[in-house]
């Protein structure tokens, strides 16, 4: 984990300064995003007690229901544990977002099992697909379940408590040698979607593959992600929530805070630390410290989102 070098004065932010922070799972750090720059506020429970918030929502990601390999032979079990953790939160979240790879192989039974486990939380869930959710032959199971009211290949937006949420799809029709892709149609839609909104509206964007380039050699990025971000530059507060890389990473550029979530199924290696991004086998007693959920709090009027990564087991 590294900490921002930011001073306490939020007004004195150098907007051009790019900070890169990584919080490795298990650290349980609270990030408060203020004026676009995250500050580590301390451990979870103290921070939560200090800042009751208006809007709390949860991010879960990469549940890979159906995965049964050595890195986690029981992915549905750890998803159920994550849902149990959500149910036990002291403050009930408003809703959940799932940033994709709900299933491992897009099989109907995997979607059914995921649904059954996730619905236990009793919360509305807003999904975007991961590449693992679109590998059935006709590429229809995801859309039939989750994308009925979405545009194009599954993108949409909604509003909650004055925050504008945008779900994007960057795992469709990928091209040889390239990274994730949003495509022209989606970018045009995004431009129209935000056109009439005031700059003071906090925006939360969520998509499966990171919209920023985390590690090109492993395909961890989105070729036209920067174009999407540039369409949001008028907004004072933009938070980008992604999955796909099964570990927590943060980066802040100007008003935009990027954050990736833990998986509920299996960890993946840090960039370049393994021959490939394949599932990371860790000792059994360590697995649950590398899996988890993300808790996001928005305090009205303060334009800041507090992002808390909660491992299944701290």
């Amino acid at each position: 984990m590294s900490e921002s070098k930011k001073t306490d004065d939020d007004r004195g932010v150098n907007r051009r300064k790019v900070l890169e922070c990584m919080t490795w799972a298990g650290t349980g750090v609270l990030w408060t995003i203020s004026g676009g720059v995250p500050r580590s506020l301390g451990i979870i429970d103290q921070a939560l007690a200090a800042e009751p918030s208006k809007l709390t929502f949860l991010q879960i990601s990469d549940s890979h229901v159906g995965f049964d390999k050595p890195a986690n032979p029981n992915a549905i079990g750890t998803l159920q544990e994550a849902i149990g953790k959500i149910k036990s939160l002291p403050a009930r979240p408003s809703f959940m977002i799932h940033t994709g790879d709900i299933t491992h192989l897009s099989k109907p039974a995997e979607f059914d099992n995921a649904d059954r486990a996730i619905s236990e939380a009793g919360l509305d869930v807003h999904y975007v697909p991961g590449e693992h959710d679109l590998i059935d032959e006709e590429v229809k199971f995801y859309r039939e379940r989750y994308g009925k009211n979405a545009k194009g290949s599954g993108w949409y937006s909604f509003d909650a408590d004055g925050v504008h949420f945008i779900g994007l799809v960057n795992v469709m029709n990928l091209e040889a040698g390239k990274l994730g892709k949003l495509g022209e149609e989606q970018l045009k839609w995004l431009q129209d979607d935000v056109a009439g909104r005031t700059a003071s509206t906090p925006v939360v964007v969520f998509a499966h593959i990171p919209l920023w380039t985390v590690y090109e050699q492993w395909g961890w990025g989105t070729d036209d992600g920067a174009r999407a971000i540039s369409l949001l530059k008028k907004f004072g507060s933009v938070t980008v929530l992604n999955g796909h890389i099964h570990q927590v990473m943060q980066k802040v550029e100007g008003n935009v805070a990027f954050h990736t979530a833990l998986s509920t199924a299996f960890p993946q290696p840090a960039p370049g630390t393994a021959p490939s991004p394949g599932p990371l086998k860790v000792p059994d007693d360590k697995l649950r410290s590398l899996l988890g959920i993300t808790d996001v709090n928005f305090v009205r009027g303060q334009q800041r989102l507090a992002i808390i990564d909660k491992p299944l087991q701290g």
């Binding site: 390999k69 990928l174 040889a176 390239k178 990274l179 395909g219 021959p275 394949g278």
Partner: protein, 124 residues
């Protein structure tokens, strides 16, 4: 060939069957027209070998050794496998000489190439 069949059925699947199939393929080709088969392994999010040169008529089989599914998709949409889970395989027969680029449609940074030479080409 006839005598092989009952024997193959009575044995467990796996290497024995593969060997039997290979023997059958090489010994009983009609007129010997088919070239040898070739294999590409998918391991550690990479196609190995990344570039493979074969004779026209060769059937190339890709096998996924990773714990994550991959696909084999032609860059020109000439062929595309289903998602291959661990140990699944996909085969395609290349009849026309040429260079065929392909990639994994799930992890498009994974790319490979099959170079097909004329069947009567003298060089190795």
């Amino acid at each position: 060939m006839q005598s092989l069949r009952p024997e193959r059925r009575s044995r467990p699947l796996g290497a024995v069957l593969l060997v039997a199939a290979f023997v059958a393929a090489t010994l009983f080709l009609p007129g010997g027209a088919r070239a040898e088969d070739a294999a590409v392994q998918i391991d550690d999010f990479a196609f190995s070998p990344p570039s493979l040169t074969v004779k026209a008529g060769t059937t190339v089989t890709w096998r996924n050794k990773d714990d994550i599914p991959h696909t084999v998709a032609s860059s020109t949409r000439m062929f595309k496998s289903k998602a291959l889970d661990t140990d699944d395989s996909y085969s395609f027969t290349f009849n026309e000489p040429g260079s065929y680029g392909y990639f994994c449609s799930l992890h498009p940074h994974m790319t490979g190439k099959i170079v097909v030479e004329p069947a009567n080409h003298a060089a190795q």
